[in-house]
Symmetry: none
Subunit: 603 residues, 2 copies
């Protein structure tokens, strides 16, 4: 597509997240000042929540006009009571821009049109030409269903489609199946380390546990015997019994418990399939906590949650989205639990990629096509077929199931373009910073000292640490979760510095001074650089405003003959393998229902 | 070139320096808010200095994008602590616009993105189409060097080129040689009056003095015998001995002396060929004086300097530029001195145009072509020749030397366009208001009363007055220098009113009540309306930021086969005839060196 906006730089300006100037061509979209309100003009009193709402309002107009973020030529940002020392607007706007660098002017103002408004943004956008239908080569192969993505969602869907007697192929971009499950060998080559999804349970995660049984996976119960530790804001280390609250002193501990219980109660009230609560969705999770009187320590605790679960600061995610995310795993406490029924109860001795490998191997031959990234999807205007192009080969299908993460949809050209609601949904999804580093040691020194291995830190680099050893294999591993701001700082280090920083933290947390001698190797895979994952993991999030404005099922809803799966579309266990499997079943059921259902249903 | 921006006016709006609306077409350049900082993000605390830096930052982006001031469609000016009674932004912006009148909105704001920023400007600019190579008629004549401008720089260069055995022509736009030296007859037709450059010396101005000797010019020593006078802010007239400081009372006089000595010391520290000092260049000369604690009287004194030397208020010129300008003449004191070694030591009885006439007459015939303004210069892309078009005639040359003032470069279409640094330099150059009025009298009444003729005034209309009589010819003249703000006020008068205003001032300064009877005639030429001089004299100036951002030799540096001379490019005696001659020698030496130098130098 021809470039509509081009950034002009001088010698010293290329480091700015916006451009000193841009050149636009063609028709121009002029956007009125957009405040940070919901679609019903509700204005949260919180400034950061308003920033997110404001940007989403801008995004909706840009999409409605047929343009894209990359077409923005100029942004004017009007801020009330602007504080140069606390530039809260910069990160959300930078994330909104992505790699695009439009021109920008910040104008501090004494007030705006409505007293409650704290930020307003207007924009000039260069409209791209209406896309024309891509010219595709002749169809090489016809199937009932093309499934995009050979992860757990896609492979599960393939099994369901085949089981219904329909034909399908699975187009997988990578040279392996498994998507965000990926099991790599340990240093000695004898064990496995899961650089992606790692935990399941055997009760409410029935689908994935069924796969574990079907493919003979040996499960390991997560170690919760022993003491857990907390690293406080001041760096002090406090042991606490696993499963209980840390002792912050009576008043603080009570306030943390209250906030935890409030979050639990509020998330239980959410309908995970169709979350709807304008007030909760108008606030960031942090603003929600503050509005309920959360103390610094309570917010610190909640920050450990968002960093370890989504790689985000609490100020970066909609309160409704976060509570709904928790609800999808049965609630905050259950999703965070390492015990029976909890999200981190069992690990897989041979690695979780066992599931995808088993699923793929048990499909008829020729169905899974590796190294087959999809470039183009054309919904033919007879309404009965879809053409999918991958590496110059065109497949024709009656239905397509995309299982790729929302942000990765940008890698595909859709014709006609995806409808505005779908675009607004998928383009609003984003990942935080989230990396797991698996630290292999010669001995489980923490166990020897009475620790279960679980640690939480308010300061990082790791926000959460879990034992992921496989004692039968003499494999002793601590998995360190780096998420959010401390994760971003850690990501800026070289590999030796990263190792050193983690060893230093572990050494302090478990009171061991000679860790270097015990240390074997650090294994980490940075999903933030993985194009096919949509540049992140484990699951995307939404800022305030999207759920409320677009409804809770906008990402999941089919578009013509295009259906959507993947763990982020799941109603249960979003971000988990269980959610991926269930989403694959659900999408397959939609497709099978439509292709095999009574003819009258289509009239 | 087709118009990209057109001003829309209503009946009552044509008097505005900006337009109420504009129409733009084509591609659009959107410029982010530009603050008043240096290229290293240094922000002077002075508001006026920031205005100049801000506009220069805007200019750089406009040029970088391939546009021009005339392409500006809209400007938004954001000002902190805006004072409607003291609209300091208006004049610099008006000068920046020139005759172009874009749309503009002024937005007073409580603060800007960075606490130190006091002004920020963003803009919308309509981009012109990329220019294509002009279609030129066939080449009529080939020479080694085409020299543009038949003033002292161009004629000197021609002599040097010829002496090196190369061929050249001099294309002069006017119907005379001499450029900004121009000698007109006195009222009786017997004497001459220099309406342009008038003074030389016989020591450190060796090149021009050599011309004086070569062409038999009779020199007249400037009269410094007798008392000088000062007109103070309150209009009171105070005599003082020539060469000494005026008596403002002990404390004030001391403060004036300190500021003068500080300027002298600071200008001596500047490298006149490559001036570099980020702090000095970030400030206007006035802000520099204020930052050093200059009193009102000291600033008044400094204002006399900038008005009489450059036609500017101290708030209109970079401190570094002004100090460097002084340094080029040996320092503030020497450049301002009317005595031996000083800038105003000797005059020429037959007028200073004698030099140019002598130089032109001693060239081989046919070299100087009068009334030959250049319209187009095309650097042919073989890198070996330049085509110069004047009045439909095309000359081909191996080298071109332009001696025209920076602002006059706009009258020529260059292909390819001049590079951004050259454009930013030349387009930033501007003249202040500066007119000399030569008042002829029947008798030297001031001499008869014991005055040397030198007067200085804080209030004007004339800021400086000098005796420029030629007693041998019974020609009694006071040259009144109107510069800066009082000059602009005087320029708004009719000719009889101008005469009356000056006679009134002279009458007061020298205590003579019957001046009308003595008065013969006023002779003045307004260089501010002279297109070929670039609409001003004696020399262009730069606002803050340019020298620091572009380096000190950006105007002088050649561009391909295009070389640059003229007094403003001189390292010594900028703005003086000496500087013009030396610049012509320097440019000729560049050209001769490249055309006659060893072949290896070009490989």
């Amino acid at each position: 597509m021809p470039q509509t906006v081009q950034t002009v730089d001088l010698a010293h300006t290329s480091g700015l997240y916006y451009g000193p100037a841009t050149i636009s061509s063609g028709r121009v979209l002029h956007i009125s000042g957009q405040p940070g309100n919901t679609k019903d003009a509700h204005v949260p009193s919180d400034y950061e929540s308003q920033i997110h709402l404001c940007l989403f309002n801008l995004r909706k107009l840009i999409i409605a006009a047929g343009a894209d973020i990359k077409d923005i030529a100029k942004l004017n940002v009007y801020i009330v009571d602007y504080d140069a020392k606390n530039r809260k607007h910069a990160r959300p706007i930078q994330r909104f821009f992505g790699k695009h660098r439009p021109a920008q002017t910040l104008v501090p103002v004494p007030k705006l049109a409505v007293p409650e408004w704290l930020i307003e943004i207007d924009a000039v956008v260069a409209l791209p030409d209406q896309p024309s239908a891509p010219m595709l080569p002749a169809v090489a192969e016809c199937v009932d269903v093309v499934i995009i993505g050979g992860g757990l969602a896609g492979l599960t869907a393939a099994h369901e489609v085949i089981r219904a007697g329909l034909s399908c192929i699975v187009l997988e971009a990578r040279d392996r199946v498994g998507g965000k499950t990926w099991s790599l060998p340990t240093a000695d080559g004898k064990g496995t380390i899961d650089v992606g999804a790692a935990w399941i349970n055997d009760t409410n995660q029935s689908r994935i546990y069924a796969l574990a049984k079907r493919y003979g996976a040996e499960v390991i119960v997560q170690n919760t015997t022993g003491t857990a530790v907390l690293e406080d804001f001041d760096g002090s280390v406090k042991p606490f019994p696993y499963g209980e609250l840390q002792d912050f002193g009576e008043a603080t501990t009570k306030s943390v418990a209250e906030i935890r219980d409030m979050c639990e109660a509020d998330c239980q009230a959410v309908d995970t399939w169709l979350p709807k609560d304008t007030t909760l969705d108008s606030l960031t999770f942090e603003a929600y906590l503050r509005s309920r009187g959360a103390t610094k320590t309570a917010i610190g605790t909640a920050t450990v949650w968002t960093r370890a679960m989504l790689g985000l600061e609490p100020s970066e995610v909609s309160a409704l989205y976060f509570l709904n995310y928790c609800k999808s795993g049965g609630g905050l406490l259950q999703m965070r639990s390492d015990r029976k029924d909890g999200g981190q109860y069992l690990r897989i001795r041979g690695g979780t990629q066992t599931f995808a490998k088993g699923l793929a191997a048990s499909l008829p031959p020729g169905i899974v096509r590796l190294e087959s990234a999809v470039q183009t999807i054309v919904q033919v205007n007879d309404g009965r077929s879809v053409k999918v192009q991958s590496n110059g080969i065109v497949y024709s299908a009656r239905k397509v199931i995309s299982t790729i993460p929302g942000p990765a949809l940008k890698n595909i050209t859709f014709y006609p373009p995806l409808p505005p609601v779908k675009r607004a949904w998928s383009e609003s999804l984003y990942y935080g910073y989230y990396t797991k580093a698996m630290m292999e040691f010669k001995k489980p020194f923490w166990v020897e000292r009475g620790f279960c291995g679980l640690a939480q830190s308010f300061i990082g680099p790791a926000g959460v640490i879990r034992d992921s050893s496989i004692p039968q294999d003499k494999q002793y591993v601590l998995t360190c979760f780096m998420g959010g701001d401390p994760g971003r700082v850690w990501a800026g280090l070289s590999t030796p510095e990263r190792e050193e920083a983690l060893l230093k933290q572990l050494s302090k947390l478990y009171g061991v001074s000679t860790l270097e001698e015990q240390f074997i190797r650090m294994t980490a895979y940075e999903w933030v650089h993985d194009e096919f994952a949509g540049l992140g993991c484990p699951c995307t999030s939404l800022p305030p405003g999207v759920l409320d404005s677009l409804g809770g099922d906008g990402l999941r809803a089919p578009t013509g003959n295009l259906h959507f799966a993947g763990t982020e579309t799941a109603g249960e266990w979003k971000g988990y393998m269980e959610g991926a499997v269930r989403s694959g079943e659900r999408a397959a059921s939609e497709v099978v229902g439509e292709l095999k259902g009574p003819v009258t249903a289509r009239l």
